[in-house]
């Protein structure tokens, strides 16, 4: 799960399915087509399968039995490896060092963020991402120190799943990936693409630093887990069905980040007379600098 998405909720909704192949690049077109083919192949079984859920349009989880198994394995791995690692990470390293590590992790994500900004047609944002990368590479000691944030260029992240969403690809059924955790068919496809096209990882491999991509992913995972230690502990302890709770959390969070109507929740008859509507409604963009309440 990505929690470090700080581009606000209210990106203007001028994105549409027709944005896809508009601009440059044979390669991207190829990737796009291959991916769409994959998506349709994977998404083939219609989600209406689960007989119990027929009048409940909210839960799109036809693979729930399998997902629950993978989820349980992930939980076990979390309990014995990731969580202890995150606890040690928090206990051993001082705040400043952890902040530096987090900055580097984020910094290394910027080249791929830039690619996605461009692919999404977000020209202004792609420029800001590039500026941020240059500033923090030069002034911020290769990303260790976040100088760009002080210049009004806060960290923002996006991923290829988001790009697919902008191109009009629906999220498809819920999917729990081994190790990577909660996802959807679309976001999983995005991860696959990311794993082979991330510029920084490609650069590492070119430089014969073959283990670096894995180390980088490991550090990012420990950092993420550490920052969410209390929250996830609370959820795990207090939820009655942790799997269902995390599923609801992931899907809502994703719909919120992407702000695409296609992903927005249908309420499954939450209206007065049992009708459906998209809920929660998209949050209006109030801007960051609204004057405080009188």
């Amino acid at each position: 799960m990505r929690d470090d998405v700080e581009h606000g909720p209210g990106m203007p909704g001028e994105r549409g399915p027709d944005r896809c192949p508009a601009a440059s690049g044979r390669l991207r077109g190829l990737v796009c087509v291959t991916l769409l083919a994959c998506l349709f192949a994977v998404a083939a079984p219609p989600p209406s399968g689960a007989s119990e859920e027929q009048d409940d349009p909210v839960v799109n989880d036809p693979l729930e039995p399998l997902n629950r198994v993978v989820f349980a394995i992930n939980e076990a791995l979390d309990t014995i490896i990731l969580r202890p690692a995150a606890v040690v990470y928090g206990a051993v390293l001082p705040d400043e060092v952890r902040l530096g590590i987090r900055n580097v992790v984020r910094h290394l994500s910027l080249p791929f963020t830039f690619v996605n900004d461009v692919a999404q047609g977000e020209w202004t944002r792609s420029g800001e991402t590039a500026q941020r990368f240059v500033i923090n590479t030069m002034v911020g000691f290769a990303g260790l120190y976040d100088a760009a944030a002080k210049e009004g260029l806060p960290h923002r992240s996006t991923d290829f799943g988001s790009t697919l969403a902008v191109w009009g690809v629906g999220d498809g059924p819920y999917l729990v990936l081994p190790i990577a955790g909660p996802s959807s068919v679309r976001d999983a496809a995005g991860l696959v693409v990311e794993s082979v096209t991330d510029p920084v990882d490609i650069a590492f491999r070119r430089a014969d630093l073959d283990s670096m991509p894995l180390i980088r992913a490991g550090v990012a995972a420990v950092d993420f887990r550490h920052r969410n230690l209390d929250t996830l502990d609370d959820f795990k302890e207090n939820s009655l069905d942790y799997y269902a709770f995390i599923r609801a959390l992931y899907r809502q969070r994703r719909a919120f980040e992407l702000d695409t109507d296609g992903d927005r929740y249908l309420t499954g008859g939450m209206g007065e007379s049992g009708e459906d509507y998209a809920y929660p409604p998209p949050r209006p963009d109030f801007g960051r600098s609204r004057p405080p309440a009188q």
């Binding site: 809502q252 929660p280 949050r283």
Partner: protein
């Protein structure tokens, strides 16, 4: 004839124009007052958990609409449940939520809430706020407010885009489906409250 006929439409026109301008400010004021008066009591770090729980239960009954939340959270299972079961569920929900949130309020001392805006929907409003914790991280916190007994009541909290009602409903629904009926959920809730 023409001017007269236009006059007939005047009241409608005025209503249409006045509608959005005279937006109901009640829900916003309700949330402001809640944030200013009720929240500091709930998050006061000096009070023991038992008292906090009792306090929150009071708030839950006064400023929330538990009947409606119960209905929203159970969804289709509510519509199928017998009245006695509904009543039982509502009681358990009150116990469950007051236990759960009383503990969560412990860490929220000094939470400051600023109202970002408000939107009205059919029969309910969304009051959009930003909550800033003592350590400075701002969190988008939106309140769904419905009318209740001539006043207002909260029917959902949306934290960073995640609706608590929807999350809870998916969880409850999964338990009902797995147990093959509402009774399974009631048992699980009772166990959780006791434990």
């Amino acid at each position: 004839m023409r001017p007269l006929r236009l006059l007939l439409f005047l009241p409608f026109l005025l209503c249409a124009l006045a509608g959005p301008a005279a937006a109901d400010e009640g829900p916003e004021r309700f949330i402001r007052e809640l944030a200013a008066e009720v929240l500091p009591q709930l998050t006061d770090p000096s009070i023991p958990l038992d008292r906090r729980r009792a306090q929150f239960r009071e708030v839950l009954n006064r400023d929330f609409d538990l009947d409606k939340i119960g209905k929203l959270v159970l969804g289709r299972h509510w519509r199928r449940a017998a009245p006695a079961k509904r009543e039982e569920f509502r009681t358990l929900l009150e116990d469950y939520l007051s236990g759960l949130y009383a503990r969560r309020f412990e860490d929220l001392a000094g939470l400051a809430i600023t109202v970002d805006g408000i939107r009205e929907f059919q029969g309910w409003s969304m009051v959009y706020t930003t909550a800033t914790r003592a350590n400075g991280t701002p969190v988008l916190l939106d309140w769904r407010v419905d009318r209740k007994d001539g006043g207002y009541a909260i029917t959902d909290l949306v934290i960073e885009g995640v609706s608590m009602v929807i999350a809870q409903r998916e969880e409850f629904s999964a338990i009902v489906v797995e147990a093959g009926g509402l009774d399974g959920l009631l048992i699980k809730l009772r166990m959780r409250i006791a434990g």
